[in-house]
């Protein structure tokens, strides 16, 4: 996982790689929450382009982060997800809580400009 701040959009960009299950979610959650507090970002953008597997633990982790951004008046963006991952995102209704986009630019345009 890689984290960087997009200062212009007050967004923490989180590039997740590999398999996003319960085991991996715990570590991501911890790092993201720490960086959100440290940087003062209000939006989180999850880049799932390099995620090869995701189950409901990934959904729960992202849902939990969207509670945090909502409280800050921000938004979670999810982009680059494979079709299989998009399928469980819409099954769970996560797509109604967060902005699902093809790219970071699209996601920011859609989410941040509306906030």
């Amino acid at each position: 996982m890689e984290l960087y701040l997009s200062g212009k959009y007050r967004a923490l960009v989180v590039r997740v790689a590999g398999e996003l299950d319960h085991h991996a979610a715990a570590g991501i959650k911890e790092s993201v929450d720490r960086e959100m507090a440290r940087t003062g970002a209000v939006n989180i953008a999850f880049d799932l382009g390099a995620v090869t597997f995701m189950d409901s633990s990934g959904i729960g982790m992202i849902m939990g982060r969207s509670k945090i951004t909502s409280a800050l008046g921000g938004r979670v963006i999810v982009y680059g997800a494979s079709d299989n991952i998009k399928r469980i995102i819409s099954m769970s209704g996560l797509n109604r809580l967060v902005t699902v986009a093809e790219s970071l630019e699209d996601g920011l345009k859609e989410a941040v400009c509306n906030v």
Binding site: D21, A26, I59, I88, M91
Partner: protein
């Protein structure tokens, strides 16, 4: 009438979630699944195993068993634990129901298993454990 079977027992630790679903994927390779079918099986197995670890054993010590069998072009997996058990199975299977909302669970595990497998059966007894049987026909 071709038949094969396997049995795997492992400690309830979260790094074994990946181990179990990787074994499940390897087990069905001989059925020549599509990439999507492989991904569906891995996800369903991961959901059941994660449930045993988180809910069955509350992230504490315990043992999880995965049995697989192949009969013709259908694979069946049974994931079982000797953990807490489920008091109301019907409610547990409802989409978005979770017994652990404080842990950021989405309550989608059973719903995903049902969507990705042809059949999902749940047997459980409080204080005794839980056994999830799921099957899927793999036709290329």
């Amino acid at each position: 009438m071709y038949k094969n079977s396997m049995r795997l027992e492992f400690p309830a630790s979260s790094d074994n979630e990946r181990f179990a679903r990787t074994v499940a994927a390897a087990f069905i390779l001989e059925l020549d699944p599509t990439v999507d079918q492989l991904s569906e099986i891995k996800t369903a197995v991961s959901e059941a195993v994660t449930n045993s670890i988180i809910h069955g054993y509350d992230n504490e010590y315990g043992s999880v068993t995965m049995e697989g069998s192949i009969f013709d072009d259908t694979v069946e997996f049974v994931i079982s634990d000797d953990g807490a058990g489920i008091s109301d199975i019907r409610r547990a299977r409802e989409p978005l129901f979770t017994g652990k909302p404080e842990m950021e669970r989405s309550g989608m595990g059973f719903t995903i298993m049902e969507a990705f497998m042809d059949s999902v059966e749940v047997e459980s007894e409080v204080g005794k454990g839980t056994r999830v049987t799921m099957s899927k026909r793999i036709s290329g």
